[in-house]
């Protein structure tokens, strides 16, 4: 896995108040966007 995926997740993730709290899956890791930007 090397692609960056934005997954449709639960309510907290579907409507994040903070862009940096969006959950992404990258190289197998379930991360916050803030972790990689």
């Amino acid at each position: 896995m090397s692609t960056l995926l934005v997954m449709p997740l639960g309510q907290a993730v579907r409507a994040p108040s903070d862009h940096q709290m969006t959950v992404v899956v990258k190289d197998g890791w379930v991360l916050l966007r803030d972790d990689i930007e």
């Binding site: 896995m1 997740l9 190289d27 890791w29 379930v30």
Partner: protein
């Protein structure tokens, strides 16, 4: 009283004759005896493990990778529960409900039909106590398992009761090899020991409780030799066979694992419906393996340098830990996943061996993927840790070749249904076409949820005992 085939009472017509002394059969037998019924409990093995009897469980696997069929079952008093792990949790309400995204995964009864038997079942299994799940957000809940501690074994717990009971007779080394039916009612079971001695036993009511593979094998075989008298429409017989796929799906690190060695999670019903998944149980198992932690930190550092640095700064302090993410989940009921009879291999009694063609579906990976990502998201957003999922989970396969595969949970094949055109037994576990033949145990499960099945098996046997009383 405990007897052999030589000392079976001659000419007695029992109220109920039950084949199989595992959790389903023994729970039913004890409950019926307590209600004053005369019961004959047949065990097709010995009081303890015996290679000679166990050999009757040899079969073939022709589907997805699985364990040998004489390894995942035990043919002795207490049945396969002799290697039970002690995990208890009832099925969830959603497990019984109709789901338009998976129309075969529902029951003709509801959770409320089994709830009255929950406390007594937990007591029988030595696992009494509250089961109070904790909702973490709209998508995820932390769930509770009760653990039988020390692990309760039916064979040892009830040996004295069986030996002294007045109206319950346990007949050991009596393997069920035939059924006599007038097409509407069973007249007798034929049993045989390994020396070739046979007897016919009579009762008003008969119950098959031989386990989630053997119930299928026996019914398929008996149906074939009595011209489909037992199951006239056998399109579904042996089909929709399920396990709980059980695999390591990822790894986790956390700043603090808390006080517990293991934590359990599942999706909420709302999230399952929305994501069109089935049920999935996740468990985090913490390890003190610092080597594994370093590798995990290295991998994460390549993807998220800021996080990698954060971990390395704490690496030599007991502040962070690593864990495996394990999952055991509900398999989509699949008509192509089935037990059938071997065309050319027979057991010591000349009966066709079981052939297991276990087949999982793409939904079986999407279910665990959705649940695992939801847990990973929760951990990340709460800043409790980060999770890495294995490639096969994210890519949709291929399935790992070296793992647990399943929980030795054999479900389906003689499924409970709303009518004879969709299953084998009715909501009281009676065969649709027979007045007095019932099936007990997990082979009647139309779907499996993710919970270990023993508790539900016991609940259903207590319910069947009420029905037969």
């Amino acid at each position: 009283m405990i007897v052999s085939i030589h000392t079976l009472p001659a000419d007695q017509v029992f109220d109920v004759c039950i084949a199989g002394s595992g959790p389903a059969g023994m729970t039913l037998a004890l409950a019926l005896a307590e209600k004053g019924k005369t019961v004959l409990l047949l065990e097709g093995g010995d009081m303890e493990f015996s290679e000679d009897w166990q050999r009757l469980y040899v079969g073939q696997n022709v589907g997805d990778r699985y364990h040998d069929l004489d390894v995942v079952r035990l043919r002795q008093l207490g049945g396969t529960s002799n290697h039970w792990g002690g995990w208890c949790r009832p099925l969830d309400a959603i497990d019984f409900e109709y789901k338009d995204h998976c129309p075969n995964a529902h029951w003709p009864i509801q959770k409320s039909d089994l709830d009255p038997y929950l406390d007594r079942s937990l007591d029988i299994l030595g696992a009494s106590g509250p089961i109070e799940d904790q909702r973490l957000n709209d998508a995820l809940q932390r769930i509770i398992f009760r653990i039988s501690d020390p692990t309760m074994y039916f064979s040892s717990k009830y040996a004295d009761v069986l030996a002294t009971s007045q109206n319950l007779i346990l007949a050991i080394q009596c393997s069920l090899i035939g059924i006599d039916t007038d097409r509407a009612r069973i007249r007798s079971f034929r049993v045989r020991d390994l020396a070739g001695v046979s007897r016919d036993v009579r009762a008003d009511v008969f119950v098959l409780a031989c386990g989630g593979i053997e119930n299928n094998r026996l019914l398929l075989h008996f149906n074939s030799i009595c011209d489909r008298a037992l199951v006239p429409d056998e399109r579904h017989l042996g089909r929709y066979w399920m396990e709980h796929p059980t695999f390591t799906v990822g790894e986790v690190f956390s700043e603090n694992e808390g006080d517990e060695q293991t934590a359990y999670f599942a999706l909420t019903p709302e999230r399952m419906r929305e994501a069109r998944t089935l049920n999935c149980g996740l468990r985090l198992e913490w390890t003190r393996d610092r080597g594994g932690l370093r590798k995990l930190a290295h991998d994460l550092g390549c993807v998220a340098p800021k996080l990698g640095e954060w971990i390395y700064r704490r690496m030599n302090k007991p502040l962070i830990c690593a864990g495996a993410l394990r999952a055991a989940w509900e398999q989509e009921p699949n008509p192509d996943s089935r037990v059938r009879l071997s065309a050319d291999r027979r057991d010591a009694f000349g009966m066709p061996m079981a052939v297991l063609d276990w087949r999982k579906t793409p939904r079986d990976i999407s279910t665990v993927r959705t649940a695992a990502i939801e847990l990973g998201a929760y951990l990340a957003r709460a800043d409790l840790g980060r999770m890495m999922l294995h490639d096969w989970v994210l890519n949709g396969g291929p399935w790992p070749e070296n793992d647990e595969f399943g929980g030795y949970h054999h479900l389906g094949g003689t499924r409970m249904s709303d009518g004879p055109e969709t299953g084998i037994v009715d909501h009281d576990l009676r065969l649709w076409s027979q007045d007095n033949l019932y099936i007990a145990g997990s082979s009647v499960f139309p779907s499996g949820g993710h919970a270990n099945p023993t508790l539900t098996i016991v609940q259903m046997s207590l319910r069947l005992a009420d029905h037969l009383s």
